[in-house]
């Protein structure tokens, strides 16, 4: 089936990323937007756009009826779900098929099978893929008994979840009840389904995942690993490839396991097999993400393969022409996620208007974003603003480039995690590659960039304030000119005409 027009059922940077691939391939794009996203870059980019109204996710980007309706109305013959929202929703994939629209991703059965983390582990264990000890609900024991058997610390997860939602670490029996209640609430509100599972919490695990590409004719290859050990509340923050924790022998072994996992479930399209790797080089299947990953870009940088384009080609029935032996990785790529959040206030999402944004540009610096200057960040969606991806000859080269890029990344008006990312990249443990999934809580448990204001900062502020006080322009009394203005009527640079 030839795909001629794609509805991108997403927003932000990933919608822009997908539309770019479509444009390069000569495929028309349909964009959708909720009320608060009407002026977003992805809306400007699409060939046709349709409003989704109410910004509440369930009424907009999660609203299957509206999306299918728009696809039919616009004549789109495929839907790309991006990541998040409906990307791992088997019902949506089913509804698309029923409406005669190609869902760019695996089949509903596969999404369903892997979406249920309990079933996924059972399937993988039975197929011979190593799986971590845990509780899946079928063990005929209470959560308390399961904790006793597995041994603390224990990780609670939502069986339907992903992205850290509904996850809690429990270190003692006393903490169990409250953690279970909270996890159930998060799971219920995120996924509409509050079943939980438990697993052994490994002391110093690394998160290593393998990118898979599988066509609809039975061919499966992997595009090597990504290490995503730097996480906060189980949300990835910094990702890199290759991982310095694995050598070629282990890489091949894990790659084979990833392909076995995909083969076991007749996987199609792009997907990711996630593993935990312990200090003794044992690896365990964690879960499979049946969609495009946020961090796919680092794989693209080191392999030169455009994963989104392959998703579209595979969905249109084309055979995978890439050969495993011919896929190679060169150099080192690192991505960091730029979040609108305040690292000093327990990473609370920050909202507001992005007044100034000036991005670092240079050789091998990629910036995937869906926002621009003047953009208002609302509290409705994930606070990720952009992804900064760099590529270097080796890890050291890439890290230094990343540090440079972060130091030259100007985003004013909204509190971002950029200073925190800089601190991570400069940390000796990161520099040495001595990282695990507890990196942030170990080294940045109570991180604060608290500092006194340097003279340069005060000098800059004073000059700016004096210039705009009226004195310089000769507009009269300096005090009344500045101080009678309401703080909220003069916004940012727009008060200056130049």
């Amino acid at each position: 089936m030839e795909i001629t027009k794609i509805l991108v059922a997403n927003r932000g940077e990933i919608a822009v990323r997908i539309m770019t691939a479509c444009q390069e391939m000569g495929i028309l794009t349909v964009g959708v937007y909720s009320d608060v996203d009407a002026k977003s870059p992805h809306v400007e980019m699409a060939d046709e756009t349709f409003p989704l109204g109410d910004p509440t996710p369930s009424a907009s980007y999660l609203n299957m009826d509206k999306l299918i309706d728009i696809a039919l109305k616009s004549g789109a013959n495929a839907i790309h779900p991006g990541y998040g929202f409906l990307s791992e929703n088997a019902d949506f994939a089913r509804v698309c098929a029923k409406a005669g629209i190609k869902f760019i991703g695996p089949t509903p059965e596969v999404i369903h099978g892997m979406g249920d983390k309990i079933e996924a582990k059972r399937t993988m264990r039975d197929a011979g893929v190593p799986v971590i000890p845990g509780y899946t609900g079928e063990e005929k024991e209470t959560l308390q008994e399961a904790c006793q058997r597995i041994g603390f610390p224990v990780l609670i997860k939502a069986s339907a979840g992903g992205g850290g939602k509904g996850m809690k670490i429990v270190r003692s029996m006393e903490e169990l009840d409250e953690a279970v209640a909270s996890a159930r609430r998060e799971a219920k509100s995120s996924f509409g389904y509050d079943e939980l599972l438990l697993e052994k919490y490994l002391p110093k695990p690394r998160h290593i995942e393998f990118q898979i590409l599988a066509d609809e004719h039975g061919k499966i290859i992997h595009l090597f690993e990504r290490e995503c050990s730097i996480q906060r509340r189980h949300q990835k923050v910094v990702e890199e490839t290759p991982s310095i924790a694995i050598d070629d022998e282990l890489r091949e072994k894990m790659g084979r396991a990833a392909i076995l996992a995909a083969k076991t479930i007749d996987y199609t399209n792009a997907g990711t097999v996630e593993f935990m790797l312990d200090a003794e080089r044992n690896f365990y299947f964690l879960e499979m993400n049946t969609r495009l990953q946020v961090e796919h870009a680092i794989t693209e940088m080191t392999t030169g393969i455009d994963i989104v384009k392959w998703q579209i080609k595979i969905a249109s029935g084309e055979p995978l022409t890439l050969e495993q032996e011919k896929v190679t990785q060169r150099g080192h790529a690192i991505e960091c996620r730029i979040y609108a959040e305040d690292p000093e206030k327990n990473f609370m999402p920050s909202t507001g208007t992005l007044q100034t944004v000036e991005l670092p540009t240079g050789v091998n610096i990629r910036h995937d974003t869906g926002i621009s200057q003047g953009y208002k960040i609302s509290p409705y969606y994930d606070p990720m603003m952009a992804k900064l991806i760099v590529y270097g000859e080796d890890r050291k080269d890439a890290s230094r480039k990343l540090e440079w890029a972060l130091s030259n990344y100007i985003a004013l008006g909204i509190t971002t995690n950029i200073p925190f990312l800089r601190a991570i990249v400069k940390h000796p443990a990161f520099v040495n590659g001595d990282i695990d999934t507890h990196f942030i809580e170990t080294y940045f448990g109570s991180w604060s960039s608290a500092k006194t204001l340097p003279s340069e900062v005060l000098i800059a502020a004073a000059i700016d304030d004096m210039k705009h006080s009226g004195v310089v322009e000769g507009m009269g009394d300096e005090k009344t000119e500045h101080e009678t203005a309401s703080p909220w009527t003069t916004v940012g640079r727009w008060r200056i005409d130049s």
């Binding site: 007044q355 008006g413 502020a461 004073a462 304030d465 008060r495």
Partner: protein
């Protein structure tokens, strides 16, 4: 003119006067001669005692956001005569740091609570944020109930510290 800034409870008075094409600026007991060029709105190249520093400024009411040498500083311009005590006194009122929905309430009016006890849980962007008691004390009033929508900056809890 004299300008006053506040950052994390600390006051910074700055004296600035025109000195021909340049400025003479006093910070603390130090004095600097500064030339300034606004290359485009908000972008400054400052020559401070002969050394060039580039920075970027955004203003939002009294708030100043300044990007300099890779760091972002966020602080406030304040009135002359403001006292540090006005900024860092122990808060008796807890305001919401986030907009979202109340998914759990952990105390009722007049409860005696421990420091760190979860008072209200707010869900935003599908993540839960726990609002904890900043100190041991008495909950005077909880202003929200389960299911309520809360906006950033709204008063969540009125507390009184145990002496």
């Amino acid at each position: 003119m004299e300008l006053h800034y506040e950052h994390q409870g600390k006051l910074y008075p700055v004296r600035i006067t025109r000195d021909g094409e340049a400025f003479s600026i006093g910070v603390g007991d130090k004095s600097f001669r500064v030339e300034s060029k606004e290359t485009k709105p908000g972008y400054f190249a400052l020559t401070i005692d002969g050394k060039v520093t580039k920075c970027n400024i955004a203003t939002e009411g009294n708030q100043r956001h300044i990007f300099i040498n890779g760091d972002v500083y966020r602080f406030n311009r304040v009135e002359a005569g403001a006292r540090p005590a006005d900024f860092d006194k122990l808060p008796s009122s807890i305001t919401s740091p986030i907009s979202g929905k109340v998914t759990a309430v952990g105390a009722v009016d007049n409860d005696i609570v421990e420091a760190g006890q979860v008072l209200i849980t707010i869900e935003a962007m599908k993540m839960e944020y726990q609002i904890k008691a900043p100190y041991a004390g008495k909950v005077e009033k909880i202003n929200f109930k389960l299911g309520d929508q809360v906006d950033i900056g709204e008063l969540l809890v009125q507390m009184e510290k145990t002496e």
